[in-house]
Symmetry: D2
Amino acid sequence: MPERHEPRGFMFPRSPEGRDSIVPAPPWHYSGEMLTIEYRTEPARVAELLPAPLEPAAEDPGAVAVIWADWQSCSDSFEELLDPVRSQYKEAFVVVRCRYKGDTYSRCVYIWVDKDFALVRGYHQGYPKKLGEIWMTRPVTVGRAGPRLESGGRFGATLSASGRRLIDATFTIAEPSEGAGFVNAFPMLHHRFMPRIESDGSDALQELVTMRGYDVELGPAWKGEAAIRLHDSPVEELIRLEPKEMIAGYWRSVGTFWKAGTTLGKRRG
Amino acid sequence: MPERHEPRGFMFPRSPEGRDSIVPAPPWHYSGEMLTIEYRTEPARVAELLPAPLEPAAEDPGAVAVIWADWQSCSDSFEELLDPVRSQYKEAFVVVRCRYKGDTYSRCVYIWVDKDFALVRGYHQGYPKKLGEIWMTRPVTVGRAGPRLESGGRFGATLSASGRRLIDATFTIAEPSEGAGFVNAFPMLHHRFMPRIESDGSDALQELVTMRGYDVELGPAWKGEAAIRLHDSPVEELIRLEPKEMIAGYWRSVGTFWKAGTTLGKRRG
Amino acid sequence: MPERHEPRGFMFPRSPEGRDSIVPAPPWHYSGEMLTIEYRTEPARVAELLPAPLEPAAEDPGAVAVIWADWQSCSDSFEELLDPVRSQYKEAFVVVRCRYKGDTYSRCVYIWVDKDFALVRGYHQGYPKKLGEIWMTRPVTVGRAGPRLESGGRFGATLSASGRRLIDATFTIAEPSEGAGFVNAFPMLHHRFMPRIESDGSDALQELVTMRGYDVELGPAWKGEAAIRLHDSPVEELIRLEPKEMIAGYWRSVGTFWKAGTTLGKRRG
Amino acid sequence: MPERHEPRGFMFPRSPEGRDSIVPAPPWHYSGEMLTIEYRTEPARVAELLPAPLEPAAEDPGAVAVIWADWQSCSDSFEELLDPVRSQYKEAFVVVRCRYKGDTYSRCVYIWVDKDFALVRGYHQGYPKKLGEIWMTRPVTVGRAGPRLESGGRFGATLSASGRRLIDATFTIAEPSEGAGFVNAFPMLHHRFMPRIESDGSDALQELVTMRGYDVELGPAWKGEAAIRLHDSPVEELIRLEPKEMIAGYWRSVGTFWKAGTTLGKRRG
């Protein structure tokens, strides 16, 4: 009698040869461009997004980063790079900071992407991803249809979901920068959860996890002035994070690598 | 000091008022049209999709149903029906049967949808959903640009993902039918799982669940001849379910209701 | 020496066998569902959309119809019906009335569709089509996720383009209706034009044409109360047609057939 | 009595303030990246795409270029750059050469784009555009998820339309290059046409035009080995241009500017 093989694969659907997984198994390599816009909102508006026992950051607790990224990503096979529908995606996400057991973390509270593999990869990492339509100006080196990476270069960035514009932003380069902001600079602290199929208000999976990228390779960063407008939607509470004071905008090329995070706590379902 | 409120919502992202959840809380109502095509493949090709301790169905173990559905769905608020981008979606899915503890179940092994709320609602129910582009002919009552629901009415149905056509099918109505096939007629038996964030090959969530629709309201069914072609893709193993013998096709309007399933087993992460 | 064959096809691209045409050759058959919302705006806002010598309608010159349609269409081969990505499309369009040489016509001033074949077919007919994302509630016969075609049935309809919501509307059925409105009830009077490639402000093609559907087959119509909101966009002037007084809404299934229109006038480029 | 103003705008829809035009008025600026793959097919397969009096090129008459481009474009207002959904688009197109009155021209025979403004801008220029889904690998400067612009850098490029993959291609950089191929290097020779609305087999507009970009600013070019596979579709004859011998692939950044072309001939409708 032939040996029985289990369906396999990193993620669903698990299949005989394991090729069907909606996202290939880690490690995952990323190369892309990030536009970060930082501002301050009412600290209470950040605090209300933090489930206990997370606490607001000790300093500048109302700081928010809204980030657009235009990525290529791939597995260790690198084969996705030659079928770029499987490697290119864009995302827009909102990051705040929090404290847990005395340490400061970054935490993604809202995020939109434009591919299914990025959506489910995010669920593995605790990112609360939805689908959206993300656009960001690209710098150019020839012609007039785009900014140069130099003082005066102007960028636009937008987010829409379900046919509604949610964010409009602009960024103008002023000067080179050492870094690209402080809000998204800590290890991420995320919850991963899945409600019980009994739909009884409790979760079958409820984990506190932390993660960060490794082998980060950074291009030169640029800093400048930014403006941002948040728009309302019946299915988003994003506008509660109303900007009170702009901090700055940043643009940088980023390469990174992700393999695994760490489970900090787990509530048994 | 003000009372601290936790972010809330059925699904991620959990937010201050709970409006951000990618899918509203159950119960969910569904009304739509389903085209079911049943055929037989090699029974071993079905068996290789069943993780232990699931066993192939005792009778006709190579039976497969490929189903297209064009849905409206909504929560108990019914508000999604007036913003139809949030209620309409299409899906194509592949169902087989299996045995577990002496009972026969239906099991969805592959499924594609075209909206994010449907994707994540499926994860709650154990459906291994990907995004796809789904098309199915609609019956009409006036004009010549579509089949009538009567003998001779011809329908097409297709599925694409990542810019590749995966399935082409046709169906021709022969006669009224009592039912709409036997493969998708049992309670569903699904696994819900999420790999540990440590990406170490084990799952943080690993559940066996069962579920079915309630208050099913059925329109008249039609039966007829069907043809189906499966196409290859580097990221799909669908073509392993190669048709050896066609059974029949069915078309029917379906209304249903879903609130909760039942956890049959759980492996602690 | 072999005979030389010209590339052929109804529309571009013309190709050796003529199969590449972005839209198959007429005649075209249509079957679908139409939701019509009529209201009155300032008559001057309609008049400013009419190039001379077109004049506003003699009666009720501020009447506007905003129409959503969910179509299947096909050529005389009917083959598109079995590959429904080539036959199904949705559109939302704005119609006003005008007078020309003593006769009253309907005229489409803005229109959005979601497929390229519909876009270019529209250019042939003088419709000024753009791409958009169109949604309209569908009536259902089973289940609770949709309205019945009966008094109290509620429908939503929306239009977005470039990630911006442009129109939100609702319609509630009150009673059966003889007709489905008066604004879109006349033969269409359209301009077809194409600027000279010299981009010198003159048109290489500049025609006044009229057209209408033939062999129209109508299902029962329903009438009721409608509400509509127009939203702003940097690339649309739709909001100039601000509603001052609602007239009514109508829902009806429509089948029709189109083969040719008539050129009324031509300015030589 | 107030002066009557005509609806205005470069392209349809013409509107009171002229803001509705599906594409802003020229001039248009372009900055982007182009991947060109050149090969030889049977010369007869190129000749059958050339309407009389166009003749095949005197030398290498079977040469074909398939080109992917990832563009930003904008008008002289440059405002589209800050709302990048209106400036970014991708295209894939097929170019051959021909002779007319003793001169050699390039001619685009098939082309797919992913935005409506690019589609209609193409119609102004005589490009026979359809909508498609276009992907091409981007070079990166940091991280491992993409090729460097250096020897060994590997790129993939794909085209799909109506949910069918039409082209898969790969390119590997071997060395710097003086140019980026010879097939798309001549002024374009296009037909612009629109069938009469009488749909009687004759064209209301039928022009022979020529055009080229100006103020072209070129980045360094790279040359290397390319592979390409064409796939069948019921609505495309692309596979008739079957590759018999590969020539080479090229990658280059390109900036250009377009304002106007020249009408060479006109057949009165």
